[in-house]
């Protein structure tokens, strides 16, 4: 192999550069955010579905809501406990969860998702 030493050194430097972000961030895992509940949400105790379901699949529920309310005109959702909710992200969900940055945004940032809900739906004004 001609210039074997140079090639190997080059490879080591190259791989080292490629892996540098891993070494740089090693042991510094970002803390999983803990969504904060507002006083109103705490008081209500229950959401429209179980906490575990809402945590994992709120987007499925929201997708279903938007489809059934916009396209089928079914504007009310009956929860498993029989309580009726008006299907609206902006009016119903954000009424309790009015702390967007502490409830929605920090988790979305953590898992690196960019839902485009807020391009049209108006966020509540947050108290600083």
């Amino acid at each position: 192999m001609y210039d074997g030493g140079k090639i190997i050194i080059g490879l080591i430097i190259g791989i080292g550069l490629f892996l540098s972000p891993f070494f740089y961030n090693a042991g510094k895992a970002a803390k999983a955010p803990d969504p904060e509940l507002t006083a109103k949400a705490k008081e209500a105790k229950v959401c429209v579905a179980q906490k575990s379901y809402m945590r994992e699949s709120h987007f499925t529920l929201l997708d279903e809501w938007r489809h059934t309310s916009v396209r089928d005109g079914e504007r009310y959702y009956t929860a498993s406990d029989g309580k009726k909710y008006y299907k609206s992200l902006q009016v119903t969900c954000l009424d309790c969860h009015s702390n967007y940055s502490k409830f929605c945004q920090q988790c979305h940032d953590y898992v690196d998702v960019n839902p485009y809900c807020w391009d049209c739906h108006i966020l509540p004004e947050e108290k600083k």
Partner: protein
């Protein structure tokens, strides 16, 4: 291979028998369903929302005020967060005005009476019975609600191709050339005006939705409410399918006209002139 005459006649006979049987069976088991599915767009079943606009009352009110009456337009644009861009090319039109000659171009008359000549008529989406915008939409973002005939928009699906704008013969659809949140602040000081209703994003088409969100709650559309509030009652919203409704009563008692009836779109907006 090859079918002789006898075989062919047998097959044809059975095919005819089953073909007829199939159609007859569907007619007995699910009457009307086959006919409905044969049409491109399902026609309104049951309720059919419509509006009868009494232009005599409207024009009287417009002439009474100094700058004319704009109550219905203000109410609608406040309800639906419709921004003012200050540029007619970018205007978002849900409810707007135009001259009689432009609204009813197929009845030209050089010597039309002064009562309507150049007079500003109130315009909005006609919520046609046979909407061309719905037929051309490639994503079915715009659709006709079977339950009440409202031509609605699903903003989540609109890709902004503007086929519907080309198809609509009434100019009822507007394109968002910019993000509504970036509309000039001095023209929209308190935007968004209704925090319970969403805005739109850049690159979608929008139009009058016959206040589907208010009708669902059993309220009248915002423009009608505004008109009733100033006790003009020029806008009348009702069910065309109910022979005893307010709109049917008005249509029975007055001569009404619709925009471009020859196109066969069957508008659900009627004008008393």
């Amino acid at each position: 291979m090859g079918v002789d005459r006898r075989e062919f006649l047998k097959i044809a006979g059975y095919a005819a028998l089953f073909g007829l049987g199939g159609k007859a069976a569907i007619d007995i088991l699910a009457p009307g369903e086959l006919e409905a599915s044969m049409q491109g767009i399902p026609l309104t079943q049951g309720k059919r929302w419509s509006m009868v606009i009494d232009m005599r009352k409207c024009l009287k009110q417009q002439e009474a005020g100094k700058d004319g009456c704009k109550e219905c337009m203000i109410a609608c644009h406040r309800e639906h967060n419709v921004p003012d861009w200050g540029n007619p090319k970018h205007a978002i039109k849900w409810i707007w005005q135009d001259k009689y000659e432009h609204v009813f171009p197929d009845t030209p008359n050089q010597f039309i009476d002064e009562g309507v000549r150049h007079k500003p008529f109130i315009l909005m989406c006609n919520h046609c019975l046979n909407p061309p915008c719905v037929r051309v939409c490639p994503t079915q973002a715009t659709f006709k609600r079977e339950s009440d005939g409202i031509v609605a928009m699903d903003m989540h699906r609109c890709i902004g191709c503007r086929f519907c704008m080309a198809a609509c013969p009434y100019g009822s659809r507007s394109f968002n050339w910019g993000d509504p949140r970036k509309a000039p602040k001095e023209l929209n000081p308190d935007y968004p005006t209704n925090r319970a209703y969403p805005e739109r994003s850049k690159g979608v088409v929008e139009k009058c939705n016959f206040c589907v969100e208010l009708v669902a709650k059993g309220e009248l559309p915002a423009c009608v409410q505004a008109c009733d509030k100033i006790k003009v009652h020029a806008l009348n919203f009702g069910d065309l399918d109910d022979p005893e409704s307010n709109v049917r009563k008005l249509l029975r008692e007055h001569y009404t006209i619709r925009r471009k009836p020859a196109l066969g779109t069957e508008p659900n907006l009627f004008y008393i002139i």
